[in-house]
Amino acid sequence: MRKLPFLLFLAPAALFADVVYLQGAGTISGKIVEQNAEIVQVDVGGGIVGVPMSRVDRIVKARCPLDDYEDRAAKLAANDTAGWLKLAEWASQNGLPMNAHDAYEKALTSSPDNAEARQALGYTKLNGRWLTEDEAYQASGYVKYSGEWMTPAQAQIEQTHSAQEKARKDAEYAAVAAENRADEAEAKAEEAEKEAKKAQEAQQYGYPGYGYGYYGGYAYGVTSWPTGTGPGLGAGSRPSGGGRR
């Protein structure tokens, strides 16, 4: 009896899960498994969702459907087909499709031919055999194209459309590439003209030829050096040239 007040104090924390409200809109509800200054990781019952803390508006403790699912599942015997079916439907109605899937699977463990569970899991009975959704579509003559089942005729239309789109994009890309090549050639020609002029000037005024090369090397060195420590450069600045990082 002396422990009771302590247990009561603990109870709310154990009962409630966490709801992470995103800035602006949207929520993630489940159980926080890790939280630091950068990120909060939430177990949503079907995996872990990571949310950058910079996107979090607030986190509140609240009882969520996942808590109820776990409480109810813990009370069900493995062979309680009706119980698992009921829980599966409840999970579906409460936005927990992965838990609903698990509960239907549990129902099938004790009753492998259960039509409700089979149909909810996407099975179709064909010639006395339960087929998966994919097997049933395949058996009905559909083909899978771009991740979707469709008639062969529709797949043909989509394939032709994709090929035309690709050809159009390739042609666009080729045109842009040709334009870039032409610009590059023009730039090279201008560069060559400048070089020739400089060489002519150097010859005329006695400048050593390596001076120009040295200047280039120095420039790259300076560009890559101040990684966030140089004057006027923030911590996020990145080196743009080769050399030390």
């Binding site: 800035q23 809109a25 949207g26 996407g122 179709t124 089942w149 469709m150 989509e158 459309h161």
Partner: protein, 256 residues
Amino acid sequence: MNRRGDRLEVRAFSLAAATLLAFTLATPAPTAPTVDKIVADYVAARGGLTKLRELKTLRQTGRIFAGQGREALVVREVKPPGRIRVQFTIQGVTAVFASNGTTGWKVSPFEDDMQIKDLPDEVTNEAIDQTDIEGPLVDWKAKGHTVELAGKETVNGLATYKLKVTLKSGAVRYSYVDVASHFEVRVDSTRQVKGLDLKIETTFSDHKKTGGVLFPRRIEIAAEGRPQHARVVVDKVEVNPALSDALFERPTLPKP
């Protein structure tokens, strides 16, 4: 979830429909009612113009099943003109897509994106099209749409009037109104999917009234040439819930 069963049912219906059609063609056709009469019967079946006019806002809560284990809780809130907000929850993760009637925005953690992003114009326009709670047939002349009778067709075993609805925007839809109940049982539209025009068939069934207005509780969406159906089960309809305009506006975040 038994799609093969559904397909067989549709095939059986189609066969029966073909037989019925043969008999229908063999007998003299009665005079078809006018578009105005069909629409008036449809409006009356939905609860009447007065009740429809009382609809200021709407909230529908349900579930969408898209096959391959894809399932989500959906909350759809509408406040004309143009305001719509749709929330999807999958396994504790809630995404929001909304429009204020001019621009659209989303926060979609499913796409690994926790930030507020603009919706593409075509998505926003499609969303805004859906905010006419009454539907385009109600008061179609005043709304600038045109409606023509395009014949009679059988939909899932039901004889229907096929109406060609050309929206003010130029978009064309076909609406199928059940001859017996006057309920709208199917709408065909064209939507751009990956750059390809796809005919989308939306079928409505399990109609029930809330606040004196009829709403379908089961909606099936299928694309031409594809066997998968997205099935929406509407669990709850709320008529005229309090919805603040702010719900639809793109949230402004404090500057970091």
